[in-house]
Amino acid sequence: MKILVCLKQVPHQDARLEVAPGGTWIQDSNIKFDINDYDKYALELALRIKDAGEAEVVVASIGPDRATQALRTALGMGADRAVQVWDDAFAATDSLAIAKTLAAVAKEESFDLVVMGLMSDDANNSLTAPMLAQFLDLPHVTSVVKAELQDGKVEVERELEGGSLEVRSVPLPALLAVQTGINDVRYASLKGIMAAKKKPLAKKSLSDLGLDAGAVAPKVSIAKLYVPPKGEGAELVEGSPAEQASKVVAKIKELGLL
């Protein structure tokens, strides 16, 4: 069994984000990065399949030099090989272009299962996975919260709203886009990190994949990124924690809830 995990390196959840001077992206030169949270769960899903039997796990990412770190981490967690793709054309890109490029990566070999996160923590698009499934002509399920491999198929649960879950049976090969919380994500052990240094990491350009900048020209671009305008907002209580506390208590009393 061969599994492809597509992952993205995004700003660390605790990074302080600011809009960059051009006003179309964040200031990303001096912040910490991490593997996208959703993708960590996807990787863990793949690694558990590997742990349970025979599987090779390949991780792929489209990202600049710094993204090598995310792939090394994934290798440290237990993935077998990595593919990193970059071209300056991706500096301003859209989901369709990313999905086309990932499709080219996937088509270089033959995968039984493709897993990735439902969305990225930066763009929040939730488009790449179903787009990639289409380009690879695979059935897909998004918002996956449970996946069990059976003979030639995978039984999945898809999260709907308000605590409802949809059970679906999907023939392999297939693509799954996972929700957060689906499993307990492992950390890379020291031994794993050491081993990762020797694992293959292939760097590819667009032309290596038979693509060019024209093939990945975006149809969607960011015109403006900005801090959401403030509405009326909450009445803010000022002072020391003790002063703030007594004002809050006064309010709760006023509401008749004490």
Binding site: L17, I26, S95, L96, A99, D121, D122, N124, N125, S126, L127, A129, P130, M131, A133, Q134, F135, P139, H140, V141, S143, E155, E159, L160, E161, G162, G163, L165, E166, V167, R168, S169, V170, G181, D184, K219, V220, S221, I222, L225, V227, P228, P229, G231, G233, A234, L236, V237, P241, A242, Q244, A245, V248, V249, K251, I252, K253, L255, L257, L258
Partner: protein, 318 residues
């Protein structure tokens, strides 16, 4: 002017409110509006939509459409797009909406933008506004050419006018789905029903460690006689069971008092609690979106504010 195709969504045998919100968005653009309703036994829903601003409503009926499937829905919507040649295709940003949107955009090779709350025409395309970075920033996106967008439920008020539209059958043959629908089930419910509580105190990722829920949040719950809730990351990390989760994929509650502690206020969380009668937010980030829906805001370190609050509550009660 832009021609818009609305893709209606059926849930529990009825058209979702969110689909009527799409009608409002489409009508706001001032061009032609056509709609698509697909499912089994949906003729009546289509007729109803045609009278509620949906314009000409295409209806695709069939056994193969009884349960949602990305394969069948993509095929039907694709056919409606080919028949109507819209400039803009609107779906709701729901689990089915985002499951099909990307696939459809790839099939049609068109610009796609999800979870938008504002759309304006712009040259041969559109300007679409949405949140990014989990709610930290807004972004205005420029989409060129035919565009597919999913609209955030609740972003617009459902269209309330009544207009005389029409209904037309859309015949789609040879539909098949590679994956099969088995069932929809409810996540196992525990004994922790937040919907009945007068006061709910929820903790978020800001609490940093599972033991802080016992050490810091539990005393506040006790002092207020509140039930404890949580945001999704807390449940994802296994710190609290799913029945604690407040939000679009958890419980939707409207207590007399909701206290959000160390919760940023992502839209999926807000959906679950913004109907509360009174909301107090405690967060160290003055720009946290939770302060936009809160009535009373405390900007500060929760590890200082919450113990102080517990103390003050004890004193007030004597």
């Amino acid at each position: 002017m832009a021609k818009v195709l609305i893709v209606g969504e059926i849930q529990g045998g009825a058209l979702r409110e969110a689909s009527l919100e799409l009608v409002a968005v489409a009508r706001g653009l001032g061009g032609d509006v056509v709609s698509l309703v697909l499912g089994k036994g949906v003729q009546g829903i289509a007729e109803d939509l045609s009278k509620k601003g949906g314009g000409k409503v295409l209806v695709a009926e069939g056994d193969a459409l009884e349960a949602y499937s990305a394969d069948t829905h993509t095929a039907v919507i694709q056919q409606a797009v080919e028949a109507e040649q819209p400039d803009l295709i609107l779906l709701s940003n729901t689990p089915n909406g985002w499951d099909v949107a990307g696939k459809l955009a790839a099939v049609l090779d068109v610009a796609a933008v999800t979870d938008v709350f504002r759309i304006e025409a712009d040259g041969d395309g559109f300007l679409l506004t949405r949140r990014m970075f989990n709610g930290k920033f807004d972004a205005q996106l420029r989409a060129s050419g035919r565009t597919l967008a999913t609209v955030q439920p609740g972003a617009a008020t459902a269209y309330e006018g009544s207009d005389a539209g029409s209904v037309e059958a859309l015949t789609v043959s040879g539909l098949s789905s590679r994956s099969t629908f088995v069932e929809v089930r409810k996540a196992a419910a525990g004994g922790h029903d937040l919907t009945k509580a007068d006061i709910v105190v929820s903790g978020g990722r800001g609490l940093q460690k599972p033991e802080k829920f016992d050490e810091v949040l539990e005393p506040l719950c006790a002092a207020l006689g509140a039930q404890m809730g949580a945001s999704r990351p807390v449940v994802d990390a296994g710190w609290k069971p799913h029945e604690y989760q407040v939000g679009s994929s958890g419980q939707v509650i409207a207590p007399k008092l909701y206290v959000a502690v160390g919760i940023s206020g992502a839209i999926q969380h807000l959906v679950g609690m913004k109907g509360s009668n009174f909301i107090i937010a405690i967060n160290k980030d003055p720009d946290a979106p939770i302060f936009e829906v809160a009535d009373l805001g405390v900007v500060g370190d929760l590890f200082e504010v919450v113990p102080a609050l517990v103390e003050a509550l004890k004193q007030a009660k004597g």
